[in-house]
Symmetry: C3
Subunit: 318 residues, 3 copies
């Protein structure tokens, strides 16, 4: 999509040399063929250093943009970005892509569907009612149980096991809400990358990134009914027990253990080798590695045990 057309859609005058824009991205990650957006003055450093070709921006922030970057001035930049995001979403399936390639030794059920453009490695087992979307890439020796859905553009490594009815790559939960309280979808044009040797339980949901990738690093073990929001990153050999959940953009270091029904809010960073007891809820960064936490609000496990003792005493008082 031409930058001039984007300017026109956002009711901005356009002058200068036009270029093809390939997508939307954050200020930090956008390249010179992408457009970004900013809705908050606390990102001034990111505005000043962005490489984006254009930025959807409020008037008073324009002065912070690098000179090479085209300002796209709007009143509600988050909402404008949402409206624009639809134009960068590829078709769900695309008949013009080449027929899927399936590697030697792989067994694909005739009742599975593999969309055009997908590539399956060697010695995989793909069972009935599986759906593998356009341009999905799967490594070798991976087993995908019935009714798993993998949305387009996602990648799954080698030696993975994905249990029945799990979903990889459904849309992240993103929308812009206007002043009337109505929501506009932010199309989730990123993907999910699952590295090698990952096992994912049944009925688990891993959302695709809004931009870039939701990343599940190698050796991770994910149980049943787990929620992983868009743009999360799960470190190597981490363990997420059943019914645990991560809001968007939270990053776990390696060997983090999340107990059953535990959760973390969005945009957090959790240090390697952290253990989170069942039901614990993380609402701020965990910086020191190797500790065990419990409770909601979260506290060190020892403190939590002490608190329970105090509560027991409180209960005995008249």
């Amino acid at each position: 999509m031409k930058l001039s057309l984007i300017a026109e859609l956002l009711e901005n005058d356009f002058s200068g040399s036009d270029i093809e824009i390939t997508g939307l991205n954050t200020l930090k990650n956008a390249n010179e063929h992408e457009v970004s957006f900013v809705s908050n003055s606390k990102y001034i450093k990111d505005i000043e250093s962005t490489k984006a070709a254009g930025v959807i921006i409020a008037d008073y922030l324009v002065k912070h943009l690098p000179s090479a970057c085209i300002p796209l001035v709007v009143e509600h930049s988050y909402l404008s970005m949402a409206l624009l995001s639809k134009h960068f979403t590829p078709p769900i399936e695309d008949e013009t892509l080449p027929i899927a390639v399936v590697g030697e030794g792989s067994k694909v059920s005739p009742k599975a569907v593999i969309a055009n453009g997908a590539i399956i490695g060697k010695n995989c087992t793909i069972l009935a009612h599986v759906y593998i979307g356009a341009e999905v890439v799967i490594g070798d020796n991976t087993i995908i149980y019935p009714s798993v859905t993998i949305y387009r553009d996602c990648k799954v490594g080698s030696d993975c096991i994905i249990h029945a009815n799990s979903v990889i790559g459904s849309d992240g939960f993103g929308f812009a809400t206007d002043t009337k309280g109505e929501h506009t979808k932010i199309y989730q044009n990123g993907n999910v990358i699952v590295e090698d040797d990952v096992e994912i339980g049944s009925n688990t949901s891993i959302d695709r990134a809004v931009f870039g990738s939701t990343l599940i690093k190698k050796g991770t073990r994910i149980d049943n009914l787990v929620q992983i929001g868009h743009n999360c990153e799960i470190g190597e050999y981490s363990v997420m027990v059943s019914q645990s959940g991560l809001a968007g953009s939270t990053k776990l270091g390696r060997n983090v253990v999340m107990g059953g029904q535990s959760a973390a809010a969005g945009h957090l960073s959790i240090a390697p080798f952290t253990t989170l007891a069942a039901r614990s809820g993380v609402t701020s960064d965990i910086k020191e590695s190797g500790k065990t936490f419990a409770g909601f609000p979260l506290m060190e496990h020892r403190a939590w045990l002490k608190l329970q003792a105090k509560i027991a005493r409180l209960l005995k008082q008249k």
Copy 2:
């Protein structure tokens, strides 16, 4: 089913003019072709004003019934209603219904199943392994991702997106338990209505109503792994974040936000523009709109913050 036959099944004598009964319903909502039930003396007002053709009722309550209403006297009215409910449940599929109608421009995967009697609007996308039940009606431009199941009689509006492996219209969790502790299923003969512009995440369950409809109003956004019990009503533009849950018959006003892993008990009413923090648990009505709550038991968010500060102090005390 004839009223006389129902009387016979419930071992009641029947006299007077017989009519065809079309279903079961609550005292309040039953019409003159439906049968209702009552198991509790606190509903005397509803008994007195019911329009039901007949009511399954304990002997001592019969005197409160309107004269036009036939009493169906039983010992355990809830259990008798459960036993009767089976007779009003339609077949899951019905070959005698007309072949499904699919509107112009809609793309339906050959690996999707659309049962007889269904009607799909224009420009919809229905992906592989989707199941659309008998007499389901779907509007225009709606996208249904793989392995979504929509049970019979449900309605989905226009411009909706339903993500992979979600279920619309599974049976509500209803049964009558006898004195031995054994359960008898209450057939869930209502449906689910999803209005226009609703997005539903992956692996989410929305149960059909026992009578009437579970209602998801327009513009609502529902995330992954969310539970919505039978007969709930979700107001316009509400937001339910991942792993939140609603027990049966709870009603949210418009623009209610339910945070991740939050929940509400059954038969509650939550005022418009209420925000429920992650993990909050609602156990009584919220009458004033626009407030933010947290915790379980629920309290205003400010009170919850204060409580946490007090708990932190308590923890420091020797």
Copy 3:
């Protein structure tokens, strides 16, 4: 697999008469054709009384083995058992098994898949996109809604209803973690047995046992999005409300009620007729039957109410 070959894989010398080993099992349950393992000196009684043909064991514990039992001495017995478990896992599907048998009066959708070796009883309804694995046995009159996946070797009784997109028999969450923090899968070679008259909601996961069976006894009612870990046992007529969860090997007596979002840790025993309020979390055995509990940590419901009153008072104090 020959015992001599197992010894060789575990780098043990082997002498004496060789036998065919049919599987792995616990010290208590292993028979004379099975191999067991022990990683903890607290199981000395079980070591002394095991009937296993061989036991994977640390050197210092060998002296406790019965004389008929072959010691398989390793450094990390849990990890060695995990590595060995792979050799006892059957193929997911097996073309050499006889074509599935479907009883009289059963309706199976042409879009369902029933693997070889399965046996379906009479008058069942199996809807589209269902997957029934190898050697699964299903009783009479059972209804299986779309996109349910039942893994190989599981058994479902008569008069059951399994709602859409639920999974019976996915792998339990089992792995051995080495000193570097890397995980080795413990193959889950047990199954799930669902007895008669059980109803299971949508998007629920019931994991297969690592050895033996996960057992759902007759008359149980399980709601949507429920997690049941490997080797759990659910007593007759129990009720598990939506989003509740059980970690592995926990046993519920009959008529236990688990409220919404409640949970129990692993290896616990919960007495018959126990009621667990919504959100309650069980972390130790419940021995007395018929009581009601709430909270996390768990306490009797009355104590929980008292605690909430005290917390409310605490909140009012300056």
